[in-house]
Symmetry: C2
Subunit: 328 residues, 2 copies
Amino acid sequence: MTSQAAQVKELTAPVADGLARMKETIAHELREQSPAVREMVEHVGRFQGKQLRAALVLLSGEATGNTTDEHASIAAVVEMIHLATLVHDDVLDGAKVRRRVACVNHRWDNQTAVLLGDFLYARAFAVSTDLSSRLCSRVLSEATRRICVGEIEQAAGRYDFEATQERYEWVAGAKTATLYAAACELGARYPGGRDELGAKMRQFGWDLGLAFQIIDDCLDLTSSEAEAGKSVGTDVEDGKVTLPVLWAYRHASEAERAAIRDLYTTPGLSERVARLRRACRLDAGVEFARQRADSLIAAALASVRELPSSPARRSLENIASFVLARSF
Amino acid sequence: MTSQAAQVKELTAPVADGLARMKETIAHELREQSPAVREMVEHVGRFQGKQLRAALVLLSGEATGNTTDEHASIAAVVEMIHLATLVHDDVLDGAKVRRRVACVNHRWDNQTAVLLGDFLYARAFAVSTDLSSRLCSRVLSEATRRICVGEIEQAAGRYDFEATQERYEWVAGAKTATLYAAACELGARYPGGRDELGAKMRQFGWDLGLAFQIIDDCLDLTSSEAEAGKSVGTDVEDGKVTLPVLWAYRHASEAERAAIRDLYTTPGLSERVARLRRACRLDAGVEFARQRADSLIAAALASVRELPSSPARRSLENIASFVLARSF
């Protein structure tokens, strides 16, 4: 186990049992006769993510004194939806490596990745439909809609160097924070009727998720592929103008702006990112973005401050700090 | 209106009101703030298909004396799932034209088509979740799973000229008949508890859908793009060995087999299909496949024979004949 994996395991220790049941549920629900599907499901199983979203369902339940027998299944649904978005994201990004494993679109092809993602969505909704309350289906179908709209708006806004921070946060929030928010809300509120606590935990998840995305956008510019375990510099390649770049662009001279635009449109990825950082005050943009992530994490911590002290609450707080500190 | 559209309208006349409500529901449920999403939804709205699957929900309800206020919403969900599969299919096939309208992947790009399909799935499941019985969500999430598995198995079996007819029908059934079967079952059975009638109508839909796919596979070889209103010859281009080709291959000489394999792998689409038909007994294969579709339609008609006589039952019978006779 890498030291990072060990760190995540420690962070989620209070819900280790629930996470184990979550994994069993996923393995059971994705079992298929079709040899082709079986091979692919095994393959994506190796992505073995941080499973933070699943852990957030369980931890939000524990921390708010709201645990049911169905929380592990909700965590499984959230994780399957996340996996589906990853598989489809990789088609979108043309990525080749995720968590040191070849992406489905790269190992097979785009059409297979699209179908596997659809399969994962279908299984997620089937499991959700069989839960006793339909709150899970409601929250997660709405979350899925919002993720798609965020991604579509992101694609529509490529190479827009003059977008506002508000617009960036709307898109980054929609595509990433949505599922964090849904996970935390469901953990605290499922099967329903705990609206105020649900709203508070939803806000915790949103702030956490938005900070996560901002840090991700910083890492895409600053880390090496070996550190990240996935392709880096893809945002520049795809024309995604993230918060660090927006900030740098806004504070740049005309010559620097031309250089930034040039870097986004000239082939030769890795050199480009290095040049971008040197020539265009990018490190200052990264610094600004990290400060914004800082204040989002402070807000997230404030949201859980009034919960009774417990190992689960401490885990939520530690996850918030971890999101800020991670370098992968 | 084309004569074909007029024909379909006449076929579905007994449920014209329900279809109008279905369309309103879809328009309402796909309304979005996002300008990018709005533009795309408008675009795919122009695909304006035959809406046979939606009509089957309503007609199966009427014909079995099982109509509820929610049937129009179920029809909308079925149609949205169908639309999602079309948008994703077009990514898979690299198609350029559907119903004389540019495909989403061609008008925008693959990533946009993937996201729009996901958006449509998400909205479909959200509408389904809000229905009074969860039967619709159960049947349709299972149908979606099966469609994906069928498509994945189809991709895994490309260029397999020695596949059995059974294997072909399993794949064609999974990817196409599944949604017809689900539509008819839900129409007859929703909100639940009419299991025998549901099973009978499910079988009707399955036979109808499989016949539809077989005819589609024949038309992909025999019709012109102008007639079909969509790209033709794509099965050959994609390495999909359909029933007419399987039959031709099985009955071909070694030299003819080599010619068929060659035609599947040599560039130059339209000439290839013409050559394929001349050189490789393809017309005989098409004839065999049409006979198989014939007997499926006979079985479908037998499934509804015992229903009380009604305009809806007559429509179901006419749709079955229409599927066999269509040339587009």
